[in-house]
Subunit: 256 residues, 2 copies
């Protein structure tokens, strides 16, 4: 008999962790939380995770610590949650919101009130409280149509925004609005990673618990948090990620 | 007026080819040929294609020629077709089956008899004859569950198998069964690419017509086909692909 977990996947499959993530996403798709475009986007992220060795690289860990510092020292920190994020890591989002006293706002590239409500329900079922979701009452400056919808009580008035798995246009709009933008995006070449104030190039399920842990550590020492932020160099981190990919392929190209 | 083809896409759009591929895949998804996991897999391929410059690299062309040689000199060549392959390039599969006198077997990671029949119907509607699909009567050695299902008249007894867009476990099982395995996979690090006898790191719609063209050329000269196979070095080709990616990130890591 071959062992299976409750998801129906075989834990002995060498790609079990990755398959399990896909399963969560596919489930989110069936329940209406995730859109087809989200599935294709997930695949693009998965590919970069391969290239990075599916581990949290040293520059990602530094970015995660800086992110914790930014959230802790913010006046109005908000975590933006879309369909993929909600499907992949609701626990991680909820725990970070607690650790950093941040608000959670459902914010969608492919907007629908119904989907926002479904995501809110999913987060609430996982233990979230006070999720901002339906009836957006503001628009991101420079972003037309439904893609710009947001909430005055949430992202619109936030000073620090965490945007996991976000579109480049919307990320840029938040930067242009003067906010400190923290991205979580496995693609170190994406427009989101290139424009963010702090670019975390790491997988969501690895990144979120790291940020929460740093937030809990730093909450006892806010002056240390300020110092970390002051010394943070985002492009140095990105270059280090490019270097990792380059050396990996350099070694592969020379292997026998 | 914006020109459009029958798919509703604008052929002058700079991402037309890529968008058209997504359109075919989304259509396959709606008709039940493609599973959600297939959309994710497509995203992974898309990103590698982007890193490779969306062209057939010289090592891919060499692998495509060697694949034509392997199919032509086989006793029982079989082309394995899954949902994504059928949705993306039915014409290419059918033409290659003709050019290389190969059988077509529908073979699914996420098995269902109904989906196998839908894919058979889709291939037949595009001109395929004698597609092996429903009621599998064999199992790939070492592969549990439905993932191992196959046909004695097809893959199970084949000596050369072409596996476009295939899972690593199943690819390895075919290699372990002593078959010559030809993969088409844009990920040059995937277990499929690493274990295949001939690893084509190229996009499906570019690779298949190339293999067909080489098969027609070589069909007049089988001793030339044997010579190509003898001189083929698969790992040399993979190293060359790694080199392409390495140089791209080398430049990025040094950028200011």
């Amino acid at each position: 008999m071959c062992p299976e977990d409750e998801s129906g996947l075989d834990p002995t499959h060498p790609r079990y962790v990755s398959l399990n993530r896909r399963k969560r996403l596919a489930e989110g798709f069936r329940t209406g939380i995730v859109v087809p475009e989200g599935l294709i986007a997930h695949g693009r992220g998965e590919m970069f995770d391969y290239l990075l060795g599916e581990v949290t690289l040293p520059p990602a860990l530094i970015a995660e610590k800086a992110s914790a510092a930014a959230l802790l020292t913010a006046k109005k920190p908000v975590i933006s949650v879309n369909g993929n994020t909600a499907a992949l890591c609701p626990e991680g989002i909820i725990d970070l919101a607690k650790a950093a006293s941040a608000k959670i706002e459902v914010n969608l590239f492919h907007w629908s009130n119904n989907r926002a409500l479904l995501i809110k329900k999913h987060l609430t079922a996982n233990g979230a409280k006070d999720v901002i979701a339906e009836n957006p009452d503001a628009v991101l400056e420079g972003i037309h149509h439904d893609r710009g919808k947001c909430h005055i009580a949430g992202i619109y008035s936030a000073d620090v925004v965490l945007i996991p798995l976000e579109d480049g246009d919307r990320a840029q709009a938040l930067v242009d609005m003067g906010k400190t933008v923290i991205s979580i995006d496995l693609n170190p070449l994406s427009r989101t990673s290139l424009c963010a104030s702090i670019s975390i190039v790491d997988e969501l399920n690895r990144a979120l618990p790291n940020i929460s842990r740093f937030a809990r550590e730093l909450s006892k020492n806010k002056s240390e948090a300020m110092k970390i932020l002051d010394g943070y160099d985002n492009f140095k981190g990105l270059r280090s990620v490019y270097h990792t990919i380059h050396t990996r392929f350099y070694d592969l190209a020379r292997s026998q």
